[in-house]
């Protein structure tokens, strides 16, 4: 954060400094709120378990932490988590790439869009979970079926958003480029695609969240590794404390990847994103 501010000072002049400062102070408030909220949440949970609900059904946070420590030390959590993460990464990346390429073409070519749209409208209701049985038959219980399911979950979100972004590129912007001498291809590459970036990123964020939701059932039903598998194996042994460790891991992973993705977008696509809110 610190080098970011000096950066801005160089380009924007010192006039922005006071605003930046208050902005940073303002950011402390949500952080403080989060700490308070989580403390309260864990306190209520700790109290409820034992007093209101059997600690076997709802193990207190202290018990979950006790269970988690050896699992962390032995590398068990890390191994399952990294396997799940890798599956999400592969499926998500493939799905996004395919969707972006298809989407910019479909948004631009009316006939292709008209032909593909009804099919997409129909297929998008098939959630990755619904596709698990057929994925196992097609790809077996190995890695390919998981890649496919994440891919399936990603592709529609990103595709629909990409098409919307391309189609909503303001006509005046395209016409202005035309007057400035741009060819159709140049308009597509230098106006339409940059204009669609905020839409594409939104689609990818939604897809990322859904990927984390669909990897779990996929691993529960058809895998012998990954967080979903850990969850399922603990359930079969009725080890509720281990179930809660797995659940906490899923939350942490989803949250961390979303923040990382947002951070990367802010850094890399800053110019394309900054205006999307105000315009």
């Amino acid at each position: 954060m610190a080098d970011r501010i000096t950066d801005d000072e160089l380009t924007e002049g010192v006039a922005r400094r006071p605003r930046r400062r208050s902005l940073r102070l303002g950011m402390l408030r949500p952080a403080a709120m989060a700490v308070i909220a989580f403390s309260a949440f864990f306190a209520v949970w700790e109290f409820a378990s034992g007093q209101l609900i059997s600690p076997f059904l709802l193990p207190p946070p202290s018990k979950v932490a006790q269970t988690a420590v050896p699992m962390l030390e032995s590398g068990e959590i890390l191994r399952h988590a990294s396997i799940s993460l890798w599956r999400v990464f592969v499926g998500f990346t493939l799905g996004s790439l395919v969707a972006i390429v298809l989407g910019v073409i479909m948004g631009r070519l009316r006939l292709v869009n008209e032909l593909a749209d009804p099919v997409i409208e129909f297929l998008r209701y098939l959630s990755p979970t619904a596709m698990i049985p057929i994925a196992v038959i097609w790809f077996g219980i190995g890695e390919a079926s998981k890649y496919f399911l994440i891919f399936w979950g990603t592709v529609f979100f990103v595709l629909i958003n990409t098409i919307a972004g391309v189609m909503r590129t303001p006509v005046p912007r395209q016409r202005a480029a035309q007057c400035l001498g741009a060819s159709r291809l140049q308009i597509f590459l230098t106006v339409v695609i940059p204009s669609s970036v905020p839409f594409i990123v939104t689609g990818m964020r939604v897809a990322m969240a859904s990927s984390f939701m669909s990897i779990i059932p996929a691993e529960m039903l058809a895998a012998n590794s990954g967080i979903g598998y850990l969850l399922q194996a603990s359930a079969i042994m009725v080890q509720t404390d281990r179930i809660f460790v797995a659940l906490a891991t899923i939350s942490a992973l989803g949250f961390a990847t979303d923040r990382l993705f947002r951070f990367a977008c802010d850094r890399l696509l800053h110019r394309y994103m900054a205006w999307s809110g105000s315009n």
Binding site: P172, C179, L180, G181, T190, W275
Partner: protein, 255 residues
């Protein structure tokens, strides 16, 4: 010289569609400041789009320097009312102005010279590293003007460029546009439905009638010497004359 020769425009099927323009004719000589004035929906934007080459026509001819217009070109630059949506928000002020120059593969040194020249002409050289979202409405409009002027078009087509500005910025922008026009000698076609704005700016005002089958009700030459003072009696007389021309349509509109 831009020639509009009995142009007819129908939206939709020729037999059943909306007949927006019917036999519209005007010749715009080099260096003229022409205003198109008329009630909402009379076809001003449509006529501008035809001149720019964005829209086809159903009859008549559009000639630029004697050659038929078949599509948009760098010789005619359209300026949109909503500068925010016409600019490239991911590019800085400077990069926006460079866009057209880069397409022409103009060497970097010459590009820099033209960017500097046009940015200082519109008074944005202090803001060259800002993004459009960091500019005021009037500054965005000036940026759009600088970006268009950088590719050195013959004709500026401006569709209510100051329509969204407050009265004071509008005043300033009008003075500023007259200044640029006098310095560059460009031909300007300027759409407005503000009578005073048209009288302040134009060599001639083409007053349009409401559609369908809209056409020029009259073309009024403004003889008042520049700079023009809106509070002068001469100004008031022209104002009344144009109001009378529009009056017929205004009654019909509100009735």
């Amino acid at each position: 010289m831009l020639t509009i020769d009995s142009v007819t425009k129908i939206f939709g099927e020729p037999a059943t569609g909306y007949r927006a323009l019917k036999d519209v004719s005007i010749e715009v000589p080099e260096g003229e400041f022409l205003c198109l004035l008329g009630p909402s929906g009379c076809g001003k934007t449509t006529l501008m789009n035809i001149m720019a080459g964005f829209e086809g026509i159903n009859g008549g001819r559009v000639l630029l320097h004697g050659r038929p217009v078949t599509g948009p070109g760098r010789d005619r630059m359209m300026f949109f009312q909503d500068a925010g949506s016409a600019l490239f928000p991911w590019q800085t002020v400077e990069e926006n102005v460079q866009y057209g120059l880069k397409l022409q593969r103009i060497p970097a040194a010459e590009r820099r010279r033209r960017v500097d020249f046009n940015l200082s002409m519109v008074g944005l050289d202090e803001h060259r590293r800002k993004f459009p979202a960091q500019l005021s409405g009037g500054m965005r409009q000036r940026l759009q003007i600088a970006r268009g002027l950088a590719v050195d078009p013959d004709i500026l087509l401006m569709d209510e460029p100051f329509g969204a500005l407050d009265a004071m910025s509008k005043r300033r922008m009008q003075g500023f546009l007259l200044d640029i026009w006098q310095r560059t000698g460009k031909t300007i076609v300027f759409v407005t439905h503000d009578i005073a704005e048209a009288i302040l700016l134009a060599d001639r005002i083409a007053v349009m009638s409401v559609g369908p089958d809209s056409r020029f009700r009259d073309i009024v030459t403004i003889e008042i010497p520049r700079p023009r003072d809106p509070s002068s009696p001469g100004f008031g007389e022209v104002y009344a004359q144009i109001e009378r021309l529009l009056g017929h349509d205004l009654d019909r509109h509100e009735g």
